[in-house]
Amino acid sequence: MNPKHIEFPVLGAKWFIGFTALSHTAVASLAIGFAFIVTIAQIIGYLDKDRSYDLLAKRIQLFHVCIYNIGTIVAIGLVFGLSGLYPQFWSQLFVHQFWTLILEEFLFFLLATTLTFHYFFWDHLWGHKKLHIFLGALLTPLFLLQFYLINGIGGFMLTPGFQEGQASLSQGILGWDKQAFYNPSFLMLTLHRTFANISYGGFVVAGLCGAMLFRPNSGAIKACYEKGGHLSFAVAFIALLSLPIVGYFYSYVLKYEANEAFVNLMWGKGDVIAGGIDWWWIKHLCVAGMLGMTLTYFWHEDTADSRFSMPLVMIVTIGLFYLIFYMSMGMIMTWKFFWIMLAFALIGGLLARHLVSFHKGSPRALYVLVGIISFLTVMLGGYVREASRPRFVNRIAHYDKIYTPAERAPYLMVDVDPRTIPPPPEAIEKPSLAVQLIRQKCIGCHTLERVRNYRLDNWELIVDQMRAYGLKLATTEAEIIITHLREKQPY
């Protein structure tokens, strides 16, 4: 059968999906940060009996209601696009994780309703302020749950797992696949996206407050936006600090579980390079610049009136910590990376100082700038993650054993020449423990070819040697591997 598929004019299928997905990310990623900051601002306002925090919180929540609408519509566009342009991929993913996605839908319903109630009952509940704050505070955990569900699927697309994840793929799983959901990069993706969203939302709120500070308002109103800016900038900064660390462990997981993505990111291969530009580097330039700017900001922050300031010792410590972080990145990638990031952090710091002193101590321009850069970082992060991972069409062989009703099969076509599809693996039975161990443990530093090519018989020595090179292996595991290799069994 000749595969036919829908052509999307001008953009093409891939870029249409990329475009809608990124537009969705741009607005939807703000939701968690907004919900979180609204709650914090409401609590501080309540404790201080300071209306400015509450007014700001209400305004942010109004933005949130709008953004929630736009984000949803764009997401529906994305789902339409995927259903029509990648019908096989999409319907298989849906069959595979049906219950996950239905739960996701349920959570979206809860979120939309809670958000609406929280905003529209704001002024009805001044006698029940704690109840109102509680209702708003529910949004953050609900968002995290919703996020958790979608990350199971997002993580799966990046790291379907070694043999286990892929084996389960071919067993006609209907609706729920725990190994695919709790896949190797699930935890790190979740942590990274959680902190990134809080940081992004916070910097955008600070940026909006900064923009409002450019308008001719009275001192009281300015003070109000300044408070909002300080608060959300501080929240965003704390979340930002965790990101390189989480990202480091994230890449560690990728190194072992999605080596292709790791290599694409670290050494600029595949779609990570587009138009001759390495977008992963650009993203890191943004991050380094933001670290420089925010650290300088907190260093020069006038501590007299701000409760969100930081002692110098802490700033220096954080600075040193990140210096070491970038050194280790330099060792993994290239030293050029280290020097360029250092340069951008310094430039960011100088720029931050200049902007604040140019505006006579007001951080408004800095807030706006960091807000814009955090937006770029999120966009680039989303892009490189999807661009770096192996394409799903390459995995078609593993996918086509998923259950699909026979009458639907003729309609499930992808943009791929059927002759290039490798034959599906024969009924996959779970390999023995020894084989699993060898496949998992012996590919961290070299391929299995290296092991197969070894002709001598002193496996005990070899395995000990590998442990000396850094392979983590329990003694019992080592024995199992050695026995298997010594008996020259296949793996």
């Binding site: 809670t114 002024d123 009805h124 001044w126 006698g127 609900l142």
Partner: protein, 95 residues
């Protein structure tokens, strides 16, 4: 432009209508401001009047239906959240 001379106690009024008014005023004012650069007088920003107060009021003054609705919804949301968490935990052990 609608009245900005809302006395504080009107904003804190418990009727829903009043509150909707307050929030529409917020957005309309903003448009006006950018249009014709209102003087920096105190009343130019809708928040000016509200900033001074944190209008907590006796619980009895909140509309009953709103409290009942929000309370029930909060219970539903919490239970649903627990339900989803329970499913995720169970899903970790069962396929």
């Amino acid at each position: 432009m609608k009245s900005n001379n809302n006395p504080e106690d009107e904003t804190i009024d418990s009727t829903g209508k009043q509150d909707m008014n307050a929030s529409t005023i917020l957005s309309e004012d903003e448009n006006n401001e950018s249009g014709k650069e209102v003087s920096q007088s105190k009343s130019s920003h809708p928040w000016e009047v509200e900033l001074g107060v944190y209008p907590l009021r006796p619980a009895a003054e909140d509309p009953k239906w709103a409290i009942r609705l929000v309370k029930s919804w909060a219970v539903i949301a919490v239970l649903s959240g627990i339900f989803v968490i329970a499913l995720l935990i169970l899903g970790f052990f069962f396929d």
